[in-house]
Protein backbone atom coordinates (compact mmCIF):
# COMPACT_ATOMS: atom_id res chain seq x y z
CA UNK A 1 0.00 0.00 0.00
CA UNK A 2 1.38 3.41 -0.86
CA UNK A 3 2.28 5.77 1.93
CA UNK A 4 -0.13 8.69 1.99
CA UNK A 5 -2.93 10.55 3.72
CA UNK A 6 -6.48 10.15 2.41
CA UNK A 7 -9.41 12.34 3.37
CA UNK A 8 -12.62 10.37 3.72
CA UNK A 9 -15.71 11.18 1.65
CA UNK A 10 -17.48 12.89 4.55
CA UNK A 11 -14.45 15.19 5.03
CA UNK A 12 -14.26 14.28 8.71
CA UNK A 13 -11.53 11.64 8.79
CA UNK A 14 -7.94 11.56 7.56
CA UNK A 15 -6.73 8.02 6.90
CA UNK A 16 -2.98 7.46 7.28
CA UNK A 17 -1.90 4.57 5.12
CA UNK A 18 1.26 2.66 4.31
CA UNK A 19 4.72 2.68 5.83
CA UNK A 20 5.35 5.89 7.73
CA UNK A 21 9.12 5.51 7.96
CA UNK A 22 11.96 7.73 6.80
CA UNK A 23 12.60 6.04 3.42
CA UNK A 24 8.91 6.27 2.35
CA UNK A 25 7.66 9.49 3.88
CA UNK A 26 8.74 11.94 1.16
CA UNK A 27 5.35 11.40 -0.53
CA UNK A 28 3.47 12.43 2.62
CA UNK A 29 5.92 15.30 3.15
CA UNK A 30 5.04 16.66 -0.33
CA UNK A 31 1.35 15.98 0.15
CA UNK A 32 1.28 17.89 3.44
CA UNK A 33 3.01 20.92 1.92
CA UNK A 34 0.04 21.59 -0.38
CA UNK A 35 -2.75 20.12 1.72
CA UNK A 36 -6.11 21.88 2.01
CA UNK A 37 -7.57 20.56 5.22
CA UNK A 38 -11.37 20.39 5.29
CA UNK A 39 -12.82 22.52 8.10
CA UNK A 40 -14.82 19.65 9.58
CA UNK A 41 -11.87 17.30 10.12
CA UNK A 42 -12.11 15.67 13.53
CA UNK A 43 -10.37 12.32 13.29
CA UNK A 44 -7.07 10.75 12.26
CA UNK A 45 -7.50 7.07 11.53
CA UNK A 46 -4.28 5.06 11.84
CA UNK A 47 -5.69 1.59 11.14
CA UNK A 48 -4.06 1.57 7.70
CA UNK A 49 -0.63 2.25 9.18
CA UNK A 50 1.83 -0.55 8.49
CA UNK A 51 4.88 0.90 10.18
CA UNK A 52 5.84 4.02 12.10
CA UNK A 53 9.21 5.43 13.09
CA UNK A 54 10.19 8.70 14.76
CA UNK A 55 10.09 10.61 11.46
CA UNK A 56 6.52 9.46 10.86
CA UNK A 57 5.59 10.10 14.48
CA UNK A 58 7.01 13.63 14.27
CA UNK A 59 5.13 14.34 11.03
CA UNK A 60 1.89 13.09 12.55
CA UNK A 61 2.44 15.04 15.76
CA UNK A 62 3.31 18.24 13.85
CA UNK A 63 0.28 17.95 11.57
CA UNK A 64 -2.19 17.27 14.34
CA UNK A 65 -0.66 20.00 16.45
CA UNK A 66 -1.00 22.53 13.62
CA UNK A 67 -4.61 21.55 13.01
CA UNK A 68 -5.45 21.79 16.71
CA UNK A 69 -3.90 25.22 16.99
CA UNK A 70 -5.20 26.59 13.68
CA UNK A 71 -7.03 29.93 14.09
CA UNK A 72 -10.82 29.72 13.88
CA UNK A 73 -11.15 26.10 14.93
CA UNK A 74 -11.99 24.75 18.36
CA UNK A 75 -8.81 23.61 20.17
CA UNK A 76 -8.00 19.92 20.48
CA UNK A 77 -10.74 18.89 18.11
CA UNK A 78 -8.63 16.17 16.44
CA UNK A 79 -8.97 12.64 17.77
CA UNK A 80 -6.59 9.76 17.01
CA UNK A 81 -8.20 6.39 16.28
CA UNK A 82 -6.95 2.96 15.46
CA UNK A 83 -3.53 3.34 17.03
CA UNK A 84 -2.11 0.47 19.02
CA UNK A 85 -0.09 0.82 22.21
CA UNK A 86 3.25 1.05 20.42
CA UNK A 87 2.14 3.81 18.08
CA UNK A 88 0.68 5.76 20.95
CA UNK A 89 3.82 5.48 23.03
CA UNK A 90 5.98 6.58 20.10
CA UNK A 91 3.68 9.57 19.56
CA UNK A 92 3.89 10.38 23.25
CA UNK A 93 7.69 10.15 23.14
CA UNK A 94 7.94 12.51 20.18
CA UNK A 95 5.49 14.88 21.87
CA UNK A 96 7.72 15.00 24.95
CA UNK A 97 10.80 15.68 22.87
CA UNK A 98 9.16 18.09 20.46
CA UNK A 99 9.97 21.30 22.33
CA UNK A 100 12.30 23.31 20.14
CA UNK A 101 12.00 21.00 17.15
CA UNK A 102 9.86 23.46 15.19
CA UNK A 103 12.77 25.89 15.10
CA UNK A 104 16.00 24.08 14.23
CA UNK A 105 18.97 25.89 15.78
CA UNK A 106 21.70 27.29 13.58
CA UNK A 107 24.89 29.07 14.51
CA UNK A 108 24.77 32.85 14.36
CA UNK A 109 25.27 34.08 10.77
CA UNK A 110 26.81 37.55 10.63
CA UNK A 111 25.63 40.03 7.98
CA UNK A 112 27.70 41.30 5.04
CA UNK A 113 29.10 44.32 6.87
CA UNK A 114 30.03 42.34 9.97
CA UNK A 115 31.55 39.61 7.81
CA UNK A 116 33.69 42.15 5.96
CA UNK A 117 34.79 43.69 9.24
CA UNK A 118 35.67 40.32 10.77
CA UNK A 119 37.58 39.39 7.62
CA UNK A 120 39.63 42.60 7.61
CA UNK A 121 40.47 42.34 11.30
CA UNK A 122 41.27 38.64 10.88
CA UNK A 123 43.65 39.36 7.99
CA UNK A 124 45.41 42.17 9.85
CA UNK A 125 45.79 39.95 12.89
CA UNK A 126 47.15 37.18 10.69
CA UNK A 127 49.81 39.52 9.23
CA UNK A 128 50.76 40.56 12.72
CA UNK A 129 50.97 36.95 13.87
CA UNK A 130 53.03 36.05 10.79
CA UNK A 131 55.53 38.80 11.60
CA UNK A 132 55.73 37.55 15.18
CA UNK A 133 56.22 34.00 13.90
CA UNK A 134 59.06 35.08 11.59
CA UNK A 135 60.67 36.84 14.53
CA UNK A 136 60.40 33.74 16.72
CA UNK A 137 61.69 31.47 13.98
CA UNK A 138 64.68 33.75 13.35
CA UNK A 139 65.42 33.93 17.06
CA UNK A 140 65.27 30.14 17.46
CA UNK A 141 67.47 29.75 14.38
CA UNK A 142 70.10 32.19 15.70
CA UNK A 143 70.09 30.62 19.18
CA UNK A 144 70.57 27.15 17.77
CA UNK A 145 73.24 28.29 15.34
CA UNK A 146 75.22 29.53 18.33
CA UNK A 147 75.01 26.03 19.78
CA UNK A 148 75.24 23.87 16.65
CA UNK A 149 75.44 20.62 18.60
CA UNK A 150 71.77 21.15 19.43
CA UNK A 151 70.73 20.92 15.79
CA UNK A 152 68.70 17.74 15.24
CA UNK A 153 70.79 16.36 12.40
CA UNK A 154 68.86 13.10 11.84
CA UNK A 155 65.74 15.16 11.21
CA UNK A 156 67.62 17.61 9.00
CA UNK A 157 68.89 14.71 6.91
CA UNK A 158 65.39 13.21 6.63
CA UNK A 159 64.00 16.58 5.52
CA UNK A 160 66.85 16.95 3.00
CA UNK A 161 65.89 13.60 1.55
CA UNK A 162 62.18 14.48 1.38
CA UNK A 163 62.46 18.06 0.17
CA UNK A 164 65.66 17.79 -1.90
CA UNK A 165 66.56 14.38 -3.27
CA UNK A 166 62.98 13.25 -3.81
CA UNK A 167 62.21 16.45 -5.75
CA UNK A 168 65.10 16.05 -8.24
CA UNK A 169 63.09 14.23 -10.88
CA UNK A 170 60.17 16.65 -11.07
CA UNK A 171 62.37 19.77 -10.89
CA UNK A 172 64.75 18.36 -13.52
CA UNK A 173 61.98 17.38 -15.93
CA UNK A 174 60.10 20.67 -15.71
CA UNK A 175 63.12 22.94 -16.09
CA UNK A 176 64.41 20.79 -18.97
CA UNK A 177 61.09 21.32 -20.77
CA UNK A 178 61.13 25.04 -20.03
CA UNK A 179 64.67 25.25 -21.46
CA UNK A 180 63.35 23.65 -24.65
CA UNK A 181 60.41 26.05 -24.86
CA UNK A 182 62.57 29.16 -24.33
CA UNK A 183 65.09 28.03 -26.95
CA UNK A 184 62.28 27.37 -29.40
CA UNK A 185 60.53 30.72 -28.86
CA UNK A 186 63.81 32.64 -29.04
CA UNK A 187 65.06 30.59 -31.98
CA UNK A 188 62.03 31.36 -34.14
CA UNK A 189 62.84 35.09 -34.00
CA UNK A 190 66.64 34.84 -34.05
CA UNK A 191 66.66 32.54 -37.11
CA UNK A 192 65.03 35.28 -39.23
CA UNK A 193 67.92 37.62 -38.40
CA UNK A 194 70.55 34.93 -38.82
CA UNK A 195 71.52 35.47 -35.20
CA UNK A 196 71.18 31.80 -34.19
CA UNK A 197 74.14 31.93 -31.83
CA UNK A 198 72.38 34.39 -29.49
CA UNK A 199 69.88 31.70 -28.47
CA UNK A 200 72.52 30.76 -25.90
CA UNK A 201 72.27 34.25 -24.39
CA UNK A 202 68.49 34.09 -24.20
CA UNK A 203 68.31 30.62 -22.68
CA UNK A 204 71.31 31.20 -20.43
CA UNK A 205 70.28 34.52 -18.93
CA UNK A 206 66.57 33.83 -18.55
CA UNK A 207 67.07 30.36 -17.07
CA UNK A 208 69.91 31.13 -14.71
CA UNK A 209 68.80 34.57 -13.51
CA UNK A 210 65.05 34.11 -13.31
CA UNK A 211 63.31 30.94 -14.38
CA UNK A 212 65.29 28.21 -12.67
CA UNK A 213 65.15 29.77 -9.16
CA UNK A 214 61.52 30.79 -9.58
CA UNK A 215 60.21 27.52 -11.04
CA UNK A 216 62.11 25.49 -8.45
CA UNK A 217 60.72 27.59 -5.60
CA UNK A 218 57.17 27.28 -6.94
CA UNK A 219 57.45 23.50 -7.31
CA UNK A 220 58.86 23.17 -3.80
CA UNK A 221 56.21 25.49 -2.35
CA UNK A 222 53.49 23.28 -3.83
CA UNK A 223 55.16 20.01 -3.05
CA UNK A 224 56.97 20.53 0.25
CA UNK A 225 55.32 23.64 1.76
CA UNK A 226 51.94 21.90 1.63
CA UNK A 227 53.43 18.83 3.32
CA UNK A 228 54.80 21.04 6.13
CA UNK A 229 51.36 22.56 6.77
CA UNK A 230 49.55 19.23 6.64
CA UNK A 231 52.05 17.56 8.97
CA UNK A 232 52.10 20.29 11.61
CA UNK A 233 48.35 20.86 11.22
CA UNK A 234 47.55 17.21 11.88
CA UNK A 235 49.85 17.29 14.88
CA UNK A 236 47.91 20.31 16.14
CA UNK A 237 44.62 18.39 15.81
CA UNK A 238 45.94 15.34 17.67
CA UNK A 239 47.52 17.55 20.39
CA UNK A 240 51.01 16.27 19.53
CA UNK A 241 52.27 19.85 19.43
CA UNK A 242 50.97 20.40 22.95
CA UNK A 243 52.62 17.12 23.96
CA UNK A 244 55.98 18.44 22.71
CA UNK A 245 55.46 21.62 24.72
CA UNK A 246 54.60 19.60 27.84
CA UNK A 247 57.82 17.59 27.53
CA UNK A 248 59.68 20.88 27.37
CA UNK A 249 60.60 20.81 23.68
CA UNK A 250 59.97 23.97 21.70
CA UNK A 251 57.73 23.00 18.75
CA UNK A 252 59.54 25.56 16.63
CA UNK A 253 62.91 24.03 17.39
CA UNK A 254 61.66 20.48 16.88
CA UNK A 255 59.38 20.93 13.88
CA UNK A 256 60.25 24.14 12.05
CA UNK A 257 63.99 24.49 12.45
CA UNK A 258 65.11 21.19 10.87
CA UNK A 259 62.88 22.03 7.91
CA UNK A 260 64.40 25.51 7.65
CA UNK A 261 67.99 24.25 7.75
CA UNK A 262 67.24 21.47 5.29
CA UNK A 263 65.44 23.66 2.77
CA UNK A 264 67.99 26.49 2.95
CA UNK A 265 70.55 23.86 1.91
CA UNK A 266 68.34 21.97 -0.53
CA UNK A 267 66.74 24.79 -2.51
CA UNK A 268 70.01 26.40 -3.79
CA UNK A 269 71.28 22.95 -4.73
CA UNK A 270 68.03 22.17 -6.53
CA UNK A 271 68.36 25.53 -8.31
CA UNK A 272 71.85 24.59 -9.54
CA UNK A 273 70.43 21.33 -10.82
CA UNK A 274 67.53 23.23 -12.42
CA UNK A 275 70.04 25.62 -14.10
CA UNK A 276 71.90 22.68 -15.57
CA UNK A 277 68.75 20.92 -16.79
CA UNK A 278 67.32 24.11 -18.29
CA UNK A 279 70.53 24.88 -20.18
CA UNK A 280 70.66 21.25 -21.32
CA UNK A 281 67.13 21.58 -22.69
CA UNK A 282 68.13 24.77 -24.51
CA UNK A 283 71.22 23.06 -25.93
CA UNK A 284 69.17 20.16 -27.30
CA UNK A 285 66.65 22.49 -28.92
CA UNK A 286 69.36 24.79 -30.35
CA UNK A 287 71.03 21.75 -31.86
CA UNK A 288 67.95 20.17 -33.43
CA UNK A 289 66.09 23.32 -34.56
CA UNK A 290 68.84 25.82 -35.29
CA UNK A 291 71.61 23.35 -36.11
CA UNK A 292 73.82 24.92 -33.48
CA UNK A 293 76.81 22.79 -32.54
CA UNK A 294 76.79 21.93 -28.76
CA UNK A 295 80.40 23.13 -28.42
CA UNK A 296 79.54 26.48 -30.00
CA UNK A 297 76.51 26.76 -27.68
CA UNK A 298 78.58 26.09 -24.57
CA UNK A 299 81.36 28.49 -25.63
CA UNK A 300 78.78 31.22 -26.23
CA UNK A 301 77.22 30.50 -22.82
CA UNK A 302 80.57 31.02 -21.13
CA UNK A 303 80.79 34.50 -22.70
CA UNK A 304 77.16 35.47 -22.07
CA UNK A 305 76.87 34.33 -18.44
CA UNK A 306 78.81 36.34 -15.91
CA UNK A 307 79.43 35.05 -12.41
CA UNK A 308 77.15 37.84 -11.18
CA UNK A 309 74.13 36.62 -13.12
CA UNK A 310 74.75 33.09 -11.90
CA UNK A 311 75.04 34.15 -8.27
CA UNK A 312 72.06 36.51 -8.46
CA UNK A 313 69.95 33.50 -9.44
CA UNK A 314 71.32 31.10 -6.80
CA UNK A 315 71.34 33.84 -4.14
CA UNK A 316 67.58 34.16 -4.25
CA UNK A 317 67.05 30.49 -3.42
CA UNK A 318 67.77 30.66 0.36
CA UNK A 319 65.34 33.58 0.67
CA UNK A 320 62.67 31.60 -1.16
CA UNK A 321 63.43 28.63 1.11
CA UNK A 322 62.89 30.80 4.19
CA UNK A 323 59.55 32.05 2.82
CA UNK A 324 58.33 28.53 2.03
CA UNK A 325 59.25 27.13 5.45
CA UNK A 326 57.95 30.16 7.34
CA UNK A 327 54.57 30.19 5.57
CA UNK A 328 54.20 26.39 5.61
CA UNK A 329 54.92 26.06 9.33
CA UNK A 330 52.99 29.20 10.28
CA UNK A 331 49.83 27.97 8.56
CA UNK A 332 50.33 24.53 10.12
CA UNK A 333 50.39 26.03 13.61
CA UNK A 334 47.21 27.98 12.78
CA UNK A 335 45.16 24.77 12.33
CA UNK A 336 42.36 24.53 14.88
CA UNK A 337 40.12 21.59 15.69
CA UNK A 338 39.17 19.62 12.63
CA UNK A 339 40.29 17.79 9.52
CA UNK A 340 38.62 20.49 7.40
CA UNK A 341 40.85 23.10 8.99
CA UNK A 342 43.95 21.14 7.91
CA UNK A 343 42.72 21.26 4.31
CA UNK A 344 41.95 24.98 4.42
CA UNK A 345 45.27 25.99 5.97
CA UNK A 346 47.17 23.80 3.49
CA UNK A 347 45.49 25.59 0.59
CA UNK A 348 46.25 28.98 2.12
CA UNK A 349 49.83 27.91 2.73
CA UNK A 350 50.49 27.01 -0.91
CA UNK A 351 48.77 30.12 -2.28
CA UNK A 352 50.56 32.44 0.13
CA UNK A 353 54.02 31.00 -0.32
CA UNK A 354 53.80 31.07 -4.14
CA UNK A 355 52.43 34.62 -3.97
CA UNK A 356 55.23 35.77 -1.66
CA UNK A 357 57.91 34.02 -3.71
CA UNK A 358 56.82 35.86 -6.86
CA UNK A 359 56.56 39.22 -5.04
CA UNK A 360 60.03 38.82 -3.55
CA UNK A 361 61.40 37.72 -6.92
CA UNK A 362 60.06 40.92 -8.49
CA UNK A 363 61.63 42.94 -5.68
CA UNK A 364 64.96 41.22 -6.37
CA UNK A 365 64.74 42.07 -10.08
CA UNK A 366 64.12 45.74 -9.34
CA UNK A 367 66.91 45.80 -6.77
CA UNK A 368 69.40 44.11 -9.10
CA UNK A 369 68.60 46.48 -11.96
CA UNK A 370 69.11 49.52 -9.69
CA UNK A 371 72.43 48.06 -8.57
CA UNK A 372 73.33 47.24 -12.17
CA UNK A 373 74.02 43.55 -11.50
Amino acid sequence: MTTRIEISADQATAHCRGRWTAPYLHAVDKQLASMNWPAGLTRFDLTGLEELDTVGAWLLHRTINQLNNAPGTPPNQIRIDGADQQVLSLLQLVKEKAAGAEQPRHPYQPGILENAGRHVVGQLRQYQEFLIFIGQLTLVAILVMLRPWRIRWPQVVAELQAAGVNALAIVGLLTFLIGIVIAYQGGVVLRDYGANIYVADIVGLSMVRELAPLITAIIIAGRTGSAYTAQIGTMMVTEEVDALRSIGISPLEMLALPKLIALVIALPLLTVFADAMGLFGGLIMANTMLGLNPTTFINRLAEALTLNSYLSGIGKAPVFAFIIVAVGCFQGFRVRGSAGSVGRQTTISVVQSIFLVIIVDAAFSIGFSKLGI
Binding site: H26, E51, Q85, L91, G100, A339
Partner: protein, 271 residues
Protein backbone atom coordinates in the same frame (compact mmCIF):
# COMPACT_ATOMS: atom_id res chain seq x y z
CA UNK B 1 -2.05 8.00 26.34
CA UNK B 2 0.20 5.69 28.26
CA UNK B 3 3.73 6.39 29.37
CA UNK B 4 6.32 5.02 27.00
CA UNK B 5 8.33 3.17 29.60
CA UNK B 6 6.92 -0.33 29.38
CA UNK B 7 9.70 -2.68 28.45
CA UNK B 8 10.24 -4.41 25.13
CA UNK B 9 8.23 -2.34 22.72
CA UNK B 10 9.07 -2.19 19.08
CA UNK B 11 8.09 0.40 16.54
CA UNK B 12 5.02 -1.01 14.86
CA UNK B 13 5.19 -3.31 11.93
CA UNK B 14 8.85 -4.29 12.10
CA UNK B 15 9.01 -8.03 11.97
CA UNK B 16 11.76 -9.64 13.96
CA UNK B 17 13.14 -13.01 14.49
CA UNK B 18 14.42 -13.22 18.02
CA UNK B 19 18.07 -13.22 17.01
CA UNK B 20 19.00 -9.95 15.32
CA UNK B 21 22.73 -10.40 14.79
CA UNK B 22 24.78 -13.52 14.70
CA UNK B 23 28.51 -14.01 14.36
CA UNK B 24 29.59 -17.47 13.32
CA UNK B 25 33.16 -18.67 13.91
CA UNK B 26 34.52 -15.11 13.73
CA UNK B 27 38.29 -14.76 13.71
CA UNK B 28 40.57 -11.80 13.51
CA UNK B 29 44.29 -11.79 13.06
CA UNK B 30 46.79 -9.10 12.18
CA UNK B 31 49.55 -10.86 10.26
CA UNK B 32 50.44 -13.91 12.28
CA UNK B 33 49.06 -12.51 15.55
CA UNK B 34 45.58 -13.85 16.22
CA UNK B 35 43.38 -11.52 18.26
CA UNK B 36 40.56 -13.98 18.62
CA UNK B 37 39.56 -17.19 16.93
CA UNK B 38 36.29 -19.01 16.10
CA UNK B 39 34.00 -16.86 18.20
CA UNK B 40 30.26 -17.55 18.05
CA UNK B 41 28.11 -14.72 19.28
CA UNK B 42 24.46 -13.83 18.94
CA UNK B 43 22.49 -10.71 19.79
CA UNK B 44 18.82 -11.08 20.70
CA UNK B 45 16.14 -8.59 19.87
CA UNK B 46 15.76 -5.65 22.29
CA UNK B 47 18.53 -6.71 24.63
CA UNK B 48 21.58 -4.83 25.81
CA UNK B 49 24.59 -7.00 25.09
CA UNK B 50 27.85 -5.89 26.66
CA UNK B 51 31.19 -7.06 25.31
CA UNK B 52 33.88 -6.87 27.96
CA UNK B 53 37.48 -7.94 28.24
CA UNK B 54 40.93 -6.62 28.95
CA UNK B 55 42.69 -4.10 26.74
CA UNK B 56 43.73 -5.74 23.49
CA UNK B 57 41.30 -8.63 23.87
CA UNK B 58 39.62 -7.60 20.61
CA UNK B 59 36.28 -6.47 22.00
CA UNK B 60 36.19 -3.34 19.83
CA UNK B 61 37.21 -5.41 16.83
CA UNK B 62 34.42 -7.89 17.52
CA UNK B 63 31.92 -5.03 17.73
CA UNK B 64 33.22 -3.51 14.51
CA UNK B 65 32.78 -6.87 12.78
CA UNK B 66 29.20 -7.16 13.97
CA UNK B 67 28.57 -3.56 12.86
CA UNK B 68 29.85 -4.48 9.36
CA UNK B 69 32.70 -2.00 9.62
CA UNK B 70 35.43 -4.60 9.47
CA UNK B 71 35.54 -7.86 7.55
CA UNK B 72 36.50 -10.81 9.73
CA UNK B 73 39.61 -12.75 8.74
CA UNK B 74 37.36 -15.78 8.67
CA UNK B 75 33.81 -16.56 9.73
CA UNK B 76 30.57 -14.85 8.81
CA UNK B 77 28.13 -12.33 10.20
CA UNK B 78 24.40 -12.79 9.80
CA UNK B 79 22.29 -9.65 10.14
CA UNK B 80 18.49 -9.86 10.38
CA UNK B 81 18.69 -13.41 9.07
CA UNK B 82 20.80 -12.74 5.96
CA UNK B 83 24.45 -13.64 5.73
CA UNK B 84 26.57 -10.61 4.89
CA UNK B 85 29.24 -12.55 3.03
CA UNK B 86 26.72 -13.41 0.28
CA UNK B 87 25.85 -9.75 -0.30
CA UNK B 88 27.26 -7.13 -2.62
CA UNK B 89 28.19 -3.61 -1.49
CA UNK B 90 24.85 -2.07 -2.37
CA UNK B 91 22.92 -4.54 -0.24
CA UNK B 92 25.40 -4.19 2.61
CA UNK B 93 24.97 -0.42 2.53
CA UNK B 94 21.19 -0.83 2.67
CA UNK B 95 21.69 -3.07 5.67
CA UNK B 96 24.04 -0.59 7.35
CA UNK B 97 21.20 1.94 7.52
CA UNK B 98 19.49 -0.38 9.98
CA UNK B 99 22.57 -0.33 12.19
CA UNK B 100 23.64 2.80 14.08
CA UNK B 101 27.10 3.29 15.51
CA UNK B 102 28.43 5.62 18.18
CA UNK B 103 32.21 5.75 17.99
CA UNK B 104 34.36 6.05 21.06
CA UNK B 105 35.44 9.63 20.41
CA UNK B 106 32.22 10.60 18.67
CA UNK B 107 33.70 10.83 15.16
CA UNK B 108 31.47 13.84 14.55
CA UNK B 109 32.30 15.77 11.38
CA UNK B 110 34.30 18.72 12.65
CA UNK B 111 33.17 21.21 10.02
CA UNK B 112 29.47 20.65 10.65
CA UNK B 113 27.32 21.71 13.57
CA UNK B 114 25.63 19.06 15.72
CA UNK B 115 22.40 19.61 13.81
CA UNK B 116 24.13 19.26 10.43
CA UNK B 117 25.92 16.13 11.64
CA UNK B 118 22.58 14.50 12.44
CA UNK B 119 21.12 15.68 9.11
CA UNK B 120 23.85 13.91 7.10
CA UNK B 121 22.42 10.36 7.21
CA UNK B 122 18.87 11.69 6.69
CA UNK B 123 19.89 13.76 3.67
CA UNK B 124 21.85 10.86 2.24
CA UNK B 125 19.22 8.14 2.58
CA UNK B 126 15.81 9.82 2.38
CA UNK B 127 14.02 12.19 -0.01
CA UNK B 128 12.49 14.28 2.76
CA UNK B 129 12.42 18.07 2.48
CA UNK B 130 15.35 19.92 4.11
CA UNK B 131 12.96 21.61 6.53
CA UNK B 132 11.50 18.31 7.75
CA UNK B 133 14.98 16.78 8.02
CA UNK B 134 16.09 19.57 10.32
CA UNK B 135 12.99 19.20 12.49
CA UNK B 136 13.52 15.45 12.77
CA UNK B 137 17.18 16.08 13.64
CA UNK B 138 16.03 18.41 16.44
CA UNK B 139 13.81 15.61 17.79
CA UNK B 140 16.89 13.34 17.81
CA UNK B 141 18.86 16.02 19.65
CA UNK B 142 16.17 15.99 22.34
CA UNK B 143 16.02 12.17 22.35
CA UNK B 144 19.76 12.00 22.98
CA UNK B 145 19.25 14.27 25.97
CA UNK B 146 20.85 17.41 24.57
CA UNK B 147 19.39 20.88 24.97
CA UNK B 148 18.05 22.45 21.76
CA UNK B 149 20.70 25.18 21.82
CA UNK B 150 23.46 22.57 21.61
CA UNK B 151 22.33 21.82 18.04
CA UNK B 152 23.94 25.03 16.79
CA UNK B 153 27.37 24.22 18.25
CA UNK B 154 30.36 22.74 16.47
CA UNK B 155 31.92 19.51 17.86
CA UNK B 156 34.99 21.42 19.07
CA UNK B 157 32.70 23.50 21.30
CA UNK B 158 31.19 20.46 23.04
CA UNK B 159 32.22 18.80 26.28
CA UNK B 160 33.04 15.08 26.26
CA UNK B 161 29.59 14.05 27.51
CA UNK B 162 27.78 16.28 25.01
CA UNK B 163 29.94 14.94 22.19
CA UNK B 164 28.93 11.37 23.06
CA UNK B 165 25.27 12.36 23.16
CA UNK B 166 25.60 14.12 19.81
CA UNK B 167 27.20 10.96 18.44
CA UNK B 168 24.29 8.90 19.77
CA UNK B 169 21.88 11.36 18.14
CA UNK B 170 23.60 10.85 14.79
CA UNK B 171 23.65 7.09 15.39
CA UNK B 172 19.86 6.98 15.80
CA UNK B 173 19.15 9.46 12.97
CA UNK B 174 17.70 6.79 10.68
CA UNK B 175 15.86 4.89 13.44
CA UNK B 176 18.20 1.91 13.33
CA UNK B 177 17.15 -1.39 14.84
CA UNK B 178 20.55 -2.03 16.38
CA UNK B 179 22.73 0.60 18.02
CA UNK B 180 26.42 -0.07 18.64
CA UNK B 181 28.12 1.92 21.37
CA UNK B 182 31.90 1.93 21.73
CA UNK B 183 32.73 2.75 25.34
CA UNK B 184 29.74 5.05 25.92
CA UNK B 185 30.79 6.14 29.41
CA UNK B 186 34.58 6.23 29.08
CA UNK B 187 36.11 9.59 29.82
CA UNK B 188 32.94 10.91 31.43
CA UNK B 189 32.52 12.18 34.96
CA UNK B 190 30.38 9.90 37.20
CA UNK B 191 27.26 12.03 36.79
CA UNK B 192 27.50 12.15 32.99
CA UNK B 193 28.32 8.43 32.94
CA UNK B 194 25.18 7.68 34.97
CA UNK B 195 23.15 9.88 32.62
CA UNK B 196 24.60 7.99 29.67
CA UNK B 197 23.47 4.68 31.21
CA UNK B 198 19.98 6.09 31.67
CA UNK B 199 19.98 7.27 28.07
CA UNK B 200 20.86 3.77 26.85
CA UNK B 201 18.02 2.26 28.90
CA UNK B 202 15.60 4.91 27.68
CA UNK B 203 16.50 4.29 24.03
CA UNK B 204 16.12 0.57 24.52
CA UNK B 205 12.68 0.98 26.05
CA UNK B 206 11.20 3.82 24.03
CA UNK B 207 12.54 3.03 20.58
CA UNK B 208 12.75 -0.72 21.08
CA UNK B 209 16.42 -0.68 20.15
CA UNK B 210 18.78 -3.59 20.39
CA UNK B 211 22.05 -2.35 21.84
CA UNK B 212 25.53 -3.81 21.59
CA UNK B 213 28.13 -2.04 23.66
CA UNK B 214 31.77 -2.32 24.54
CA UNK B 215 32.58 -1.09 28.02
CA UNK B 216 34.99 -1.21 30.93
CA UNK B 217 32.55 0.44 33.25
CA UNK B 218 31.43 -1.88 36.05
CA UNK B 219 28.54 0.37 37.03
CA UNK B 220 27.23 0.35 33.45
CA UNK B 221 27.37 -3.44 33.42
CA UNK B 222 25.32 -3.66 36.60
CA UNK B 223 22.86 -1.00 35.49
CA UNK B 224 22.15 -1.73 31.84
CA UNK B 225 23.58 -5.01 30.55
CA UNK B 226 21.11 -7.83 29.99
CA UNK B 227 23.83 -10.18 28.88
CA UNK B 228 27.61 -10.04 28.98
CA UNK B 229 30.11 -11.63 26.63
CA UNK B 230 33.54 -11.81 28.21
CA UNK B 231 36.57 -12.09 25.93
CA UNK B 232 39.90 -13.44 27.10
CA UNK B 233 42.81 -15.20 25.39
CA UNK B 234 41.22 -14.99 21.95
CA UNK B 235 37.98 -16.73 22.88
CA UNK B 236 34.78 -16.19 24.80
CA UNK B 237 35.71 -16.94 28.39
CA UNK B 238 32.27 -16.49 29.87
CA UNK B 239 28.80 -15.47 28.77
CA UNK B 240 25.57 -14.73 30.58
CA UNK B 241 23.73 -12.31 32.84
CA UNK B 242 25.78 -10.38 35.35
CA UNK B 243 24.50 -12.36 38.35
CA UNK B 244 25.42 -15.65 36.68
CA UNK B 245 28.90 -14.39 35.93
CA UNK B 246 29.49 -13.00 39.40
CA UNK B 247 28.46 -16.26 40.99
CA UNK B 248 30.17 -18.53 38.47
CA UNK B 249 33.48 -20.11 39.34
CA UNK B 250 34.88 -19.19 35.92
CA UNK B 251 38.41 -17.93 36.52
CA UNK B 252 38.27 -14.94 34.13
CA UNK B 253 34.88 -13.78 35.37
CA UNK B 254 36.02 -14.18 38.94
CA UNK B 255 39.09 -12.02 38.36
CA UNK B 256 37.05 -9.41 36.55
CA UNK B 257 34.26 -9.04 39.06
CA UNK B 258 36.39 -9.54 42.12
CA UNK B 259 38.87 -6.89 41.13
CA UNK B 260 38.76 -3.95 43.48
CA UNK B 261 36.59 -1.93 41.10
CA UNK B 262 34.36 -4.91 40.43
CA UNK B 263 33.77 -5.45 44.15
CA UNK B 264 33.05 -1.78 44.73
CA UNK B 265 30.39 -1.72 42.02
CA UNK B 266 28.95 -5.04 43.08
CA UNK B 267 28.58 -3.83 46.66
CA UNK B 268 26.33 -1.01 45.50
CA UNK B 269 24.08 -3.49 43.75
CA UNK B 270 23.92 -5.73 46.83
CA UNK B 271 26.29 -8.38 45.60
Amino acid sequence: MNTPTTACQTPTGTKHADVVLEGHKLSMSFGSRAVFKDIDVRVNHNEVLAIVGGSGSGKSTLMRQLALLQTPTSGSVTVFGTSVSDMDDVDTNTLRRRLGVMFQHGALFGDLTVLENICVPLQEHTDLSPHLIEQVAMVKVALAGLKADAAALYPSQLSGGMRKRAAVARGIALDPEVLFLDEPSSGLDPISADAMDELVLELKQTLGLTIVLVTHDMDSLWRIADRIVMLADGAIAAEGGIHELVESDNEVARQFFHSRRGRASGAMYDQ
